[in-house]
């Protein structure tokens, strides 16, 4: 049984199911119990679970350590940051403590900790609310890093993350929160570490993360009209990265466009291209291409910030070039207006 839910509803349902199934699960976050309930994802949970959902001091690093300590004695905390930029205050506890704990003590104890992190975009989120630093977390052995796209995956991957005995960075792109999709009822998990083939194709692979998957789908639709068959991959997990799934696709199509929400240097798009180049070089028919956030802090002005984000048009153009399609034959997808909002349903502030 499935029904249509928004991503935020799917997240809320996953949290509810996890808390009902396991008394050790608890939620902490600045604003976790406020009337807005973390973008609506925790509304109603306090009534049901009482003190197992709590607001907290404005102390990201300390609270991450506290969550970790509680996990050491058997609890299963979920910590929430309303923007990724605030989570950076807790990098010692995330990268140097929680991520290392299992290994540095010889595998005696994992840290079952989920950290929900939101990436902002548009409506003047600006230099300090728009960073897409999944590569930082993905750089650290000991962490798992997931970036769901669909409502179904948000629920399934969140339940899988909560059940995992390791620290999981669960990254939510703010522009995906209002996306709707069919979501199965009840309990299920989506495996961490497996990409999803969104759309099968034979001419080119577009491997994307998070919100860029939506741009990739629009690009593929436009390419299809011009007779180019693009395969779209939703990477879903940054660490562990589904290298096999990527290579399977690239070996089939011989072409790769990597589209990530972060900047290129040291980022995911670069990793995907490197993996394909090293391991499927002889199968490549064209040079791989990378797309990501512009190499500057994201400015606030509404006419400037959209310039920082690659669009379906950019991906389709690059794909056409890679397959040798005359660009005149390509009906490029038009970006939504205004370009600093995901769609008309979003109004500021957010």
């Amino acid at each position: 049984m499935s029904r249509t839910l928004k991503v935020t509803q799917a997240i809320g349902e996953a949290l509810d199911i996890a808390m009902a199934r396991d008394k050790r699960v608890y939620i902490m976050g600045l604003g976790a119990t406020d009337p807005r309930g973390l973008f609506g994802t925790t509304v109603g949970l306090e009534k049901k679970y009482g003190s197992r959902i709590l607001d907290m001091p404005t102390a990201e690093n300390g609270m991450t350590g506290i969550a970790t300590g509680s996990a050491l004695v058997g609890m299963r905390p979920i910590l929430m940051h309303q923007r990724l930029d605030f989570a950076l205050l807790s990098m010692d506890q995330i990268a140097t403590q929680a991520a290392k704990w299992c290994y540095m003590f010889g595998g005696q104890q994992g840290i079952p900790l989920v950290i929900r992190i939101v990436i902002g975009r548009g409506w003047g989120q600006g230099p300090q609310h728009s960073q897409s630093l999944q590569a930082w977390f993905g750089h650290i052995p000991g962490l798992k890093v997931v970036m769901p796209v669909t409502a179904e995956d948000f629920k399934g991957l969140l339940l899988a993350s909560i059940e995992d005995n390791n620290p999981v960075i669960f990254i939510e792109h703010r522009w995906l929160h209002n996306i709707s999709g069919t979501v199965p009822k009840g309990y299920y998990t989506t495996p961490i570490g497996k990409l999803r083939v969104v759309r099968s194709g034979k001419d080119i692979t577009i491997a994307a993360t998070s919100h860029m998957v939506l741009e990739a789908i629009r690009a593929a639709e436009s390419l299809a009209k011009a007779g180019v068959s693009a395969e779209v991959l939703d990477m879903r997990t940054i660490r562990p990265l589904d290298e096999k799934g990527l290579l399977r696709s690239v070996r089939k199509t011989g072409r790769l466009i990597a589209a990530d929400t972060g900047v290129l240097q040291g980022g995911l798009a670069s990793d995907l291209v490197a993996i394909a180049s090293e391991r499927a070089f002889k199968d490549l028919k064209a040079a791989p291409r990378r797309f990501g956030q512009a190499d500057c802090p994201v400015p606030t002005a509404q006419n400037l910030s959209p310039l920082c984000y690659p669009t379906a048009s950019d991906l389709a153009t690059a794909a056409a070039e890679a397959v040798g399609l005359n660009l005149k034959r390509l009906d490029l997808p038009r970006p939504a207006e205004p370009r600093d909002l995901p769609d008309k349903s979003f109004t500021g502030p957010f």
């Binding site: 609270m63 300590g69 004695v73 994992g110 005995n165």
Partner: protein, 332 residues
């Protein structure tokens, strides 16, 4: 100082024995360290034995303790296995962290010593978290968190104390103030006249100062704090004055560097916790010179067993390099 009732003779003997055990253990490590077979940074606590011994005597075996870089004493006093500690220093498979951690990553979960890590103050919030977990689970356990004066300058410390007070958590914040953060004296790190315990009291936590070289005073203060914590009375901050004799990291004396004065060092050496304790026990006829000899011989034998165990143990197999980065599934 009001007159306090003397502690039971057995407890006083045990406190002394436990301190001597830390001292002899570390002195043996100091002898062996130059062989370059223990290939990890070591932070000795010679001169600081009284605090961990006094605190641990006030804890129950299943209470928790966590620590930082200078943790040998905290681990051993809590009941951490000596053989496995030595083996860890040698990077051996039989070490308490299977050779993956070294001297800065001691752990003995069976003894309630949940882990030590060297990033200053990082285990303070983690220890508050174990206490928070205890409170949520209702298990009545107390967590003691050891750290130095330097850690009280870290944001993580302040964030953790605030939360412990907010939630009335069963925590003993044990600050061993040895005056230096590596070579940097308190005078370059904190304003003149600052008393750490007074400063911390502003959080609304009971905050006390004690003689960190007197195991009996440390024990009394810790016992009061642990009893209060167990009854739901919340955390206590305990600042113990003490002094490290050796260099910050390594097995040598470093008074030649000139960052601290000879006079200061000599003054503290006279306050040696073992020396003072031994004198008092003899004066109070709690022990005889013969008893002391026997205690020492027992400990030396135990230490030699640990040395042999560590040296004879194998290194980890190369196949473990990529193991345990992640914990497996299932209830852990």
């Amino acid at each position: 100082m009001p007159k306090v009732k003397a502690l039971p003779a057995k407890l006083r003997r045990d406190l002394y024995r436990s301190m001597l055990r830390l001292r002899l253990c570390e002195e043996r490590l100091v002898e062996l360290y130059p062989e370059q077979e223990m290939r990890c940074p070591v932070h000795f606590s010679i001169g600081q034995e009284a605090t961990p011994v006094g605190v641990s005597a006030a804890l129950r075996p299943d209470d928790y303790a966590m620590s930082g870089h200078r943790s040998h004493g905290h681990y051993l006093a809590k009941g951490g296995d000596m053989n496995r500690m030595f083996a860890e220093f040698y990077g051996k498979k039989t070490g308490c962290a299977s050779g993956m951690g070294g001297s800065m990553h001691l752990i003995d979960r069976e003894a309630g010593f949940l882990g030590a890590t060297p990033i200053v103050a990082s285990t303070i919030p983690i220890g508050v978290g174990t206490a928070f977990g205890s409170k949520m689970r209702g298990d009545k356990k107390v967590t003691a968190i050891y750290f130095g004066d330097g850690a009280t300058e870290e944001g993580a410390f302040h964030e953790a104390v605030n939360f412990a007070v907010l939630k009335k958590l069963p925590v003993l914040f044990v600050c061993e103030n040895n005056l230096y953060s590596v070579y940097s004296p308190l005078s370059v790190r904190q304003p003149a006249g600052r008393v750490i315990a007074d400063h911390v009291r502003a959080y609304g936590i009971e905050s006390l100062q004690g003689d960190g070289n007197d195991p009996e005073e440390v024990y009394r203060m810790s016992m009061t704090a642990a009893t209060k914590a167990r009854r739901g009375g919340g955390p206590t901050f305990l600042e113990f004055a003490t002094y490290r004799w050796l260099e910050h990291c390594g097995a040598s004396y470093d008074n030649d560097l000139g960052y601290r004065s000879k006079a200061e060092f000599e003054r503290w050496k006279k306050k040696c916790p073992l020396l003072r304790s031994r004198k008092r026990l003899l004066k109070d006829k709690i022990v005889t010179a013969d008893n002391l000899k026997n205690i020492e011989a027992d400990i030396r034998a135990e230490v030699e067993v640990a040395v042999n165990f560590a040296q004879a143990s194998p290194f980890p197999d190369k196949s473990v390099l990529f193991k345990n980065i992640y914990a497996g599934s299932g209830d852990g």
